[in-house]
Symmetry: C3
Subunit: 354 residues, 3 copies
């Protein structure tokens, strides 16, 4: 309990970066400083979005609560992506989706298994829920790989065809996502750890909703600041949009989940830790991606589903690696390190990638 | 029992499409009508080939019966493919092989797990037989992928080299297939559900052989009609040979198995249902493919083993997806839906593919 | 015991090929004869390196002994590769690495499961150690695939970038390898069969060290002879460096392990047999590869980590196939045959590959 309070205090202190980044933006400070300040400001805000959603879900009961969590769980990624799409950075948005997927699967899960496994012979977890998530990951991978294969094996397909393809595949992903909610919240909810049952509400509904709204608006403002700093940052450091999107934007958007998954793994509650890391991945692939594809048609440059071959290779490598590690329902520190090693290889390659 | 009789009546009624399609062909009706009529005519004929083979195998005993089933189980696909090869449609034949593999793995198995799993918490099945089939699928996938990789990574290989490669790999596939029969019918037959033991013969040997011969000849005639309508059909609807082969020809050739696998899954006999869906796939890959490669050298345009990159991606996606879902020996409706979702994605992509 | 003595006698007799190959080299015999004689000479020498290392490890205790085994276990491959790198045959070295990986996974393991499984219903083995090795294989595969994907998706990357990439990825592989030693020799040593405990030392430390040194020097001399015969051999037979490296050099470098793994599998000690076949593979990928990359910078033509697409396809096919077969902790003869079938397909394709 005390530790939680301490963590909470750190998050409240981090809020200081909200006004700081606004100030830096106002006085046209260097883009690196603005980028760092805005990133640090988003982390506690994302945490408060997550917390207020959970508080509300305690009041609404598990079914509606699960739905709320599933929808608002990726609010930060969604908001940052909206602003990036508006700025025409569609390739960076796709890179950040790739980065969120591999970040959750390799970095978060890797650190969870590594730190969770230190000093223990092995940690165990229920395989049925993990395996269903793994199959969903495979479906998401197929949904991301097949349109790219289409483009690679077609001779200059028209934009209209690619658009049709992106929307049709997104519809299938969205339907599968709704079905997965039906599965995890209704027909097979006993497979999923009932975490909301454990914690009683600390905040009133009114307070929770207020915090949710204020944090969401603040994340939106910070995201606009952050996105505005990316292009000058990329230029001044010589970094590619691929690298910034895949590593930094992805980590910022998922920072709150990172902290939760790892602290929970150290407490040996592996089921919940896996649920956060893998569940968050499938939500990004099956919910965030279709939403971005659909809404992007209201922006100037619509986002299609055509990821680059390099991104596909990263996603396929991450999914196969995680599949291989979780399927026996046991983990140890070395398996965590293997995930981190794979993440390291991908960082190196994407840093050097032109 | 009653239900079986009802099903049988439907199949007998469907026989009306045999003379109808001949009539349509004779009066040069539109190719769409001829295609639909011939397709509907083949479905009951395929069923009677399957049934008469099973009846004969009751008389011959399980060992020879299993061999008969393995050989005649794909008679319909083989016959349609022969006529298509004769018409020079080698690409469509390869597309229909791809379609049979993904149709069996994603559509049939998907519908079996989905409808079988509705209203149940989970369905269970023996994993050893399923896993051996999965390994055979991996071997078949390697046999299909490696020649294509050879062509992609060689600089314009000669037709003679591709021919040698196709035949050498086909020989390895054929040997593995014979070994798999030795495994499933002799050394490890206890792993496979003894279904023939349950049903006593309803037909005499003479009746069975007569029905087998008549159905086979009729399928041959219908296949010729069907294949003749494909090119004008493709032209008039603007569909590609890839799409027609991969979706329609594949479904027609396997329609009887589709019905069996799903009805059996609803009865909760998952082992047999999997055996039909996956066993049929390995038979197509390891038996039908080499037979077509060998015999195609008697036709004008021999068929090589070089599948397109798009077909490979579909096959690899389907095999990995099915592997991921069956390996724990349990299934539920959502896993069936995931297979169907993957199939849907592939349909969309192959429909739009130029 | 008697059998072991008989085996040992065969290895001692094989030593006759050491002077014979020197003689053939001296009188400038045909390269085919020199290649065959030097190959036959290396096999018993590799065996004596292995045996003397094991003898020393009995004296040093399991921790240091395991380290010694891990380092000297691939001495033969390393030495042959050094001479090949010196001769500028970097592509052949990479082909022989690919060949060692698929040879260990498909040929050795395939023969072990096939001959071990003959006449038995199934053989069983501990899955935790096998699965950890499988995950290490996935990591190694990612480390080998990602740099190649980098090159395929970049537009003519400079040599300097490829060099940086190769070294950075090699560092990650080397760290993972050290971690794997920590895992198998310290934190989770109970998972690994304590084989050194069983056999008491037959040789004194002095005798073991002498044999180790003499064998190593002899392997070095033989390797130089062998490597010198490769280019004229390739020319006279019309074989490619890919084929010679991938099939022959790979088999020669691992011949001693081949014999051990198979004889042990027939004695039904599957855990040890798997440990040899898969452990040897991960050692090559995670230890031999980085060492070669690092040391190659002292030679004229440094070796990068960019494998060809064809090699990647072989490695990925082998790793997925083995993963699929070992993960349930059971094996039978047919699974061995499936591995051999995959190996056969790869041999055919690499023989025809230009």
């Amino acid at each position: 309990m005390e530790k939680t309070n301490k963590m909470e205090k750190i998050f409240i202190i981090l809020l200081i970066f909200v006004p700081l980044s606004l100030l830096a933006e106002y006085i046209h400070f260097s883009p690196i400083v603005i980028f760092v300040l805005a990133s640090l400001a988003i982390i506690p805000l994302a945490k408060f979005i997550g917390e207020s959603t959970e508080e509300i879900s305690v009041h609404t009961g598990p079914a509606l609560g699960g739905l709320l969590n599933a929808t608002f769980g990726n609010a930060t990624e969604l908001i940052i992506s909206f602003f990036a799409l508006q700025a025409g950075l569609t390739n960076m948005v796709k890179a950040s989706i790739t980065g969120s997927i591999i970040g959750n699967l390799l970095l978060i899960l890797g650190m969870s298994l590594f730190f969770g496994g230190l000093g223990k012979d092995q940690q165990e977890f229920n395989t049925t829920a993990a395996k269903t998530s793994a199959s969903t990951l495979f479906l998401a991978t197929a949904a991301i790989v097949m349109p790219a294969v289409f483009v690679l094996t077609s001779d200059n397909p028209s934009d209209a065809v690619i658009e049709t393809l992106s929307i049709a595949v997104s519809v299938i992903m969205a339907i599968s996502y709704l079905a997965s909610l039906l599965f995890s919240l209704r027909t097979h909810k006993h497979l999923y750890t009932a975490d909301t049952a454990e914690c009683s509400a600390r905040w009133s509904v009114k307070k929770s909703v207020t915090i949710l709204l204020v944090s969401t608006v603040a994340v939106a403002v910070m995201s606009e600041v952050l996105v505005g700093s990316i292009e000058p940052l990329a230029e001044s450091l010589g970094w590619t949009e691929l690298f910034i999107g895949m590593i930094f934007i992805a980590i910022i958007g998922n920072a709150a989940e990172h902290v939760s998954a790892i602290t929970i793994a150290i407490k040996n509650r592996m089921d919940l830790s896996l649920q956060i890391a893998i569940g968050s991945t499938t939500q990004i692939a099956m919910f965030v991606v279709p939403v971005l594809v659909f809404t992007s048609y209201f922006f100037e440059t619509p986002m299609n589903l055509i990821f680059t071959t390099f991104e596909l290779a990263c996603i396929v490598a991450a999914v196969l690696m995680v599949k291989s590690i979780i399927e026996d329902g046991k983990s140890n520190w070395f398996e965590g390190l293997q995930l981190l090693g794979t993440y390291g290889i991908i960082i190196v390659v994407s840093f050097l990638h032109p």
